[in-house]
Structures are given as structure tokens and as C-alpha cells.
Symmetry: C2
Subunit: 252 residues, 2 copies
């Protein structure tokens, strides 16, 4: 048996998240990869991910691991998987790994990007990978609020732990910036980049929902900080929808 580690990308639009569900009627990323492995002669293989992504969330840098008996090269394994997987999932790279490599427990940090399409009218070409917000957003205020997330904090106000009860995480990066301003200045993409040693359930989406209150002028920087320090989920903004979220990188 050889342990393999792979970076995968997927369009989460058509999937009920990364993790295979108990009732297997809902398509999942894990389920599709295990099915592709079966189709290339590797049945009964369990695929581990660096973390679950929710239904509709995308990835350009999810890391997975699995053990398999494969007699050909790793390049052939990657090609066989990409030829078998549906068009909305791909293996970007694949390497042999230490036999005890675990993509979740060995991860040092994870990076997510949440994209907002900020313009008066919804845009068809951004509907599957960005949240449309028509109200003008104060991106500088959002960036200043996000900066307060950096460091070790109890993030209980923004989510529930996926395992255990510890809600303290170390945020390594939290930046909000506007991209691609149109010549007219009436449309733009606002991107929030977060890197942390771990994320609570729905944490990125709750943070974005709360930052949107700041961006709309409905919450001050002090109030944003107070929400974080309160550890009270009822004080945070509502979690934003999944289609703007992308897991971009896992660091080891």
C-alpha cells in the first residue's frame, strides 16, 4: 500500500459538501473521488480531506490523502483519476506521502477566500462564485475590522467547533480588498482572505456576514471587536451563502 497526497479543486455548486453522507443519495466530493478510485480498480479506499467544506462551497486547494495499491506511476494515477472524475472535480497534483500523513491533523493552516460582487445589479457571470451585494460597501472599514481578527482569539461568536469544545483559533491573515474596479467605478469584486490554524463550523461565512454590517455602516469597528469578544453567536451577522466561499490552500 502506498499513501498518496493530492491537491484537488472543485466547483461545489452541484455537491452537498466534501464529506460523504450517511445516506449516500446526495452527491459529495469525497463520494465522487472514492467512486473514481473504484472505477480505476481501487475499491474500498477511504479518502480523507483536510477539512469539510459545506454544500455549495468551492475549493482550488483542498488536500486529500488515501492509501492504495497502484502498480503504475503517480502521474498515471493522477491522469486516470482526472479522466474518470466529473468535469467539476479535478486532481491538480498528486504525490506519494509518508504512510501516516493525515491531511486534517497534519495541517498547520488553511486559507479561504470569500468573494463579493458589489454592484447595483446582479451579474450572471458571478452568480456561482460570488455573493451579490447591491449596497455600496466601505471596504477600508471592512479591512480595518478584519485586521482585528488576527492573532489568537476565542471565535465562539462566529461558529461552533467541528469537534471538541475549544473555540480558540489563531488567525494568521485577515484582509479585505476591492479588485477590478470598472472604469465607471460602479462595480467591483470585494475579496476577504482569511488564514487560520483552524476554522469553526461556518466561521468564515459568519465573519463575512458581520463584516458586511461594518461595510454598510451599520456596525462600528469597536462594535465588531465587541462582537468577537462577546463569544455570543446571536450578536454576529447572519452567515452569508456558500457560493462566494473557496478553500484556496492548506499549509503543512
Amino acid at each position: 500500500m502506498t499513501r498518496y497526497r493530492a491537491t484537488i479543486a472543485y466547483d461545489g455548486t452541484g455537491y452537498h459538501g466534501f464529506q460523504r453522507q450517511a445516506p449516500e443519495h446526495e452527491p459529495t466530493i469525497q463520494g465522487e473521488i472514492e467512486r473514481a478510485l473504484t472505477q480505476i480498480g481501487q475499491s474500498g479506499v477511504t479518502v480523507l480531506g483536510s477539512g469539510r467544506t459545506d454544500a455549495g462551497v468551492h475549493a482550488s486547494g483542498q488536500v486529500i490523502a488515501f492509501s492504495a495499491e497502484w502498480r503504475h506511476s503517480r502521474q498515471d494515477l493522477q491522469r486516470a483519476l482526472n479522466a474518470t472524475l466529473p468535469a467539476d472535480i479535478a486532481v491538480l497534483d498528486l504525490d506519494e506521502a509518508a504512510c501516516d500523513f493525515h491531511p486534517r491533523y497534519d495541517a498547520v493552516s488553511r486559507e479561504y477566500v470569500y468573494t463579493i460582487y458589489n454592484a447595483p445589479v446582479r451579474h450572471p457571470l458571478y452568480r456561482l462564485n460570488a455573493l451579490h451585494i447591491a449596497d455600496p460597501l466601505d471596504v477600508k472599514a471592512m479591512d480595518a475590522a478584519a485586521a482585528g481578527l488576527v492573532g489568537e482569539h476565542d471565535f465562539a461568536a462566529f461558529g461552533l467547533p467541528t469537534a471538541g469544545d475549544v473555540t480558540v483559533r489563531r488567525m494568521l491573515k485577515a484582509e479585505c480588498r476591492a479588485d477590478l474596479p470598472s472604469p465607471k467605478g460602479d462595480l467591483r469584486l470585494v475579496r476577504l482572505e482569511l488564514e487560520a490554524n483552524g476554522f469553526l463550523y461556518r466561521m468564515v461565512r459568519s465573519i463575512v456576514g458581520t463584516l458586511l454590517l461594518v461595510g454598510r455602516g451599520e456596525m462600528t469597528l469597536d462594535q465588531f471587536r465587541a462582537v468577537m469578544e462577546s463569544r455570543d453567536r446571536s450578536r454576529a451577522g447572519a452567515p452569508v451563502p456558500p457560493q462566494g466561499l473557496c478553500l484556496t490552500c492548506v499549509n503543512y
Copy 2:
């Protein structure tokens, strides 16, 4: 009756092009907009476009015109249309226009962008809006070849006229550049931007197909120029697929 002019955007993935087909069973952009107008009480209205886009081609700046009896504000008309149109079509702006405004005949130039995802492995998040090319591309050579298209030329080698038999067009801009190089340098988006006073049928896609021969080192700059000057379609590269193409702007 008031004449309206609107800029529309659409994800062409699910449509058989802009123009309403004679047998109306295939969904088209024009058909969807006319249906939305009917639903808001404007039945029998014909929508004109600045030009046809083929099946699967996108637009972020298609211009349309129609005449209607609308008793409310133009803002209300835009809102009503966007509330009625499917998520993959939107009216970005809408204004009153001169009663004889024609989006096709009055256009001075049109701008298209063709996007190539250039990386060893296909990427799920670019599959609907870019062509995947695994071979490394010499983008500088492609840009140099594209520069030779600028000016007034007979483009018969790259397409058929949509009406009449004149195949001379004036190319105002033709630039090819690589965007978003990854830190590893192994993936990038290559964008070809073209602006002309008019385009022949499949002209952009035939030009891109021929530029790819240059980018792969299979055709020299002199040979590319000779293809254009030959007026012989059999010497051009095969037209590339539609999903990388987007009509970005129409100028008046």
C-alpha cells in the same frame, strides 16, 4: 411607444446563442428577454441585439434595443426585467434612446475577450468560462502575431460574413497577455482582447485557433501573417470552443 437601450450580461452556457431560432424549442437570450417583457405586460415586443453570439458564448456588455409602452420609470422597467429574467441573464443598465436607435447598425465597434486556462491539468472553476490548454503557450509570440491583425484587412481566412459578402474589417485592438501567474508559475490565464468595427462569423474563435498554433510554436509570425493575407479559410487553425468567448463591450 418609447425606445429603450440596455446593456445586458449573460452566461451563455445554457443557451443556443443570442438570436431567437425559427423553431422556438431551443432557449435563446433574445427569446428569454422577449418572454420576460411579455410577463411584465409588454407582449409582441421584438428585441434587437448588437450582434448574434453563438451557442455557449457569454456576454458582459451586449447591447439591445426595443420599443415598448411602459407607464412607469425606466428604473422600474429594469427592476421588473431583472426580477423576471432567469439568474443567467441580467440587465446591467437601461436608458431611453432615440426612436431610431439600432444596436447593430449604429455600433462603431465591438470588443471580445477570449480566455484560455493554461495549466497542465484542467480546472473545474474555469471550465465554463475558459478553454483549457495544457501545452505551454508562448504568449509573447501570440501577442506579436495578434498585433499584425490591427488595421483594415480582409479577414476572409478567419470567417464568413454574417450578411453581404464583404470580408474587410477594421481591427482596432488585438492584444494577448497572461494574467494571474501562480506563485509556482505552472498555471495562468491567457486573455486575447479584440476590438473591431465588425466581426465575421466565428472570426474570433478562428483567430484564437490560429494564434494557438503560434503559441505552441507550430506556426511562425510570418506564417500567421501569410494565413491572414491568403484569405483561405483552410489555412487557419480550427475554431476554438465557445465557452472561452465573451462579448465585453459595444461602442457607439
